[in-house]
């Protein structure tokens, strides 16, 4: 469905993506995680055929998407465009989307516009950042493209809008499954949306796996400070905080059953590591060693 084989993209001498290979199956909802400059936007631009790779092969729906009249209408890239000076109205934008999207659902678009409380007759220039983001979300949702790419598409939305947006992505996905790649660094709030995630770092794929496996790469240990310190000794500590005599530490690396039993016997509580902590750790420059 989405497939990159040894893809490199250079802007002049600067490499934005370096030897990127991955495959996302049909109808997966995949998170694209990475810090600023990791290459998320470049990768999405390649998949949406906004650019061509310097080398390597990009395949979308089984073909090279670049200037491909069959593939391009099936792919939408939704991103945070700067439209603060645009004189187009919301109505204009929706009409344009309807003209280019074979699966466009005008009724659904109208429902969404109401739900997001977007004033249709106003021009984009007078909308708030959050309302413009909502217009983009409507275009992405109602377009029902088999491949929908969201690049930080929630920027500007408040928490209520983001929740509505994620809810609509899932609800419409249940009715019309499609392949979604969604870049974000709001990991905590979005992680339930994804079945799998690709983590980019410095233009390379750091890992690509399902979110539950990813979360099991770390563990949160809570208990008396001394017991937590003893248990954490020799392990990599991603983050730690203390309150009175109690301590909570996020450790990297999966635990064996025996280690879990030991921890419980010592009065320690175990839970999964927050994806956000794991992500920060994995993409940290030069990573810090154990300092519990």
């Amino acid at each position: 469905m989405l497939h990159c084989e040894n893809v490199t993209l250079r802007y002049g001498r600067q490499a934005a993506l370096e030897a990127v290979s991955f495959r996302v199956a049909e109808n997966a909802i995949c998170g694209l995680l990475g810090r600023n400059g990791a290459g998320k936007t470049s990768l999405l631009a390649l998949l949406a055929a906004y650019r061509r790779p310097t080398s390597g092969a990009v395949r979308v729906l089984g073909a090279d998407p670049y200037e491909n009249a069959r593939v391009m209408p099936q792919v939408a890239l939704i991103y945070d465009k700067n439209e603060s000076t645009s004189s187009l109205t919301v109505k204009n934008i929706l009409a344009l989307a309807a003209a280019f999207r074979p699966n466009w659902d005008a009724d659904y678009a109208a429902t969404l516009v109401k739900r997001f409380e977007v004033p249709v007759k106003k021009s984009l220039s007078v909308l708030s950042h959050g309302q413009r983001a909502a217009v983009h979300a409507v275009v992405g949702l109602a377009g029902r493209t088999p491949v929908t790419l969201y690049d930080e598409a929630y920027l500007g939305m408040d928490a209520a809008y983001r929740k509505l947006f994620i809810g609509e992505i899932l609800a419409d996905y249940m009715r019309y499954p499609r392949t979604i790649l969604f870049s974000t660094h709001y990991i905590g709030e979005m992680e339930g949306l994804f079945s799998e995630a690709i983590v980019l770092d410095g233009g390379r794929v750091l890992l690509h796996e399902d979110c539950d496996t990813l979360r099991q790469r770390g563990v949160t240990v809570t208990g008396p400070g001394a017991a937590v310190d003893a248990f954490a000794a020799g392990r990599r500590v991603l983050s730690a905080r203390a309150l009175g005599g109690q301590k909570e530490a996020v450790l990297y690396g999966a635990l064996t059953e025996a280690e879990r039993a030991t921890a419980r016997r010592d009065g320690l509580a175990l839970s999964a590591a927050p994806l956000q902590d794991l992500f920060i750790h994995m993409t940290e420059k030069g990573g810090t060693e154990d300092e519990a």
Binding site: G167, L170, P274
Partner: protein
Amino acid sequence: MKSALDGSGPIFLQIKESIEEDILYGRLGPDEQIPSNSQLVSFYNINPVTVLKGVNLLAEEGLIYKKRGMGMFVSPEAPGILRKRFREALENGQLQALVRLAKILGLGRQELRDMIDKLWEEK
């Protein structure tokens, strides 16, 4: 059904545990239909694959069964299976923690028993 998944385990396990709790407390009775996958997806705002993983696990453990074309239902054995499992957890988990805390607080065996008796009478 829990109003939100706020635990810290894998999300598919939280889904599973939330349904198990509903069965244990009798909010879902034997042969009663559990919420559909799409209801769970929209209620908790989580990926359908994750929901499916949790629901499949319940089926594997014999807690729910499938009626073709209708959905998933609580199996008649489910309450018994869960009572046994939660009883074990009570003995090995909660009670152990309770006794440990009582010792730290310097409570005597009888004092702890009296506290339990008092609470028992209230309900």
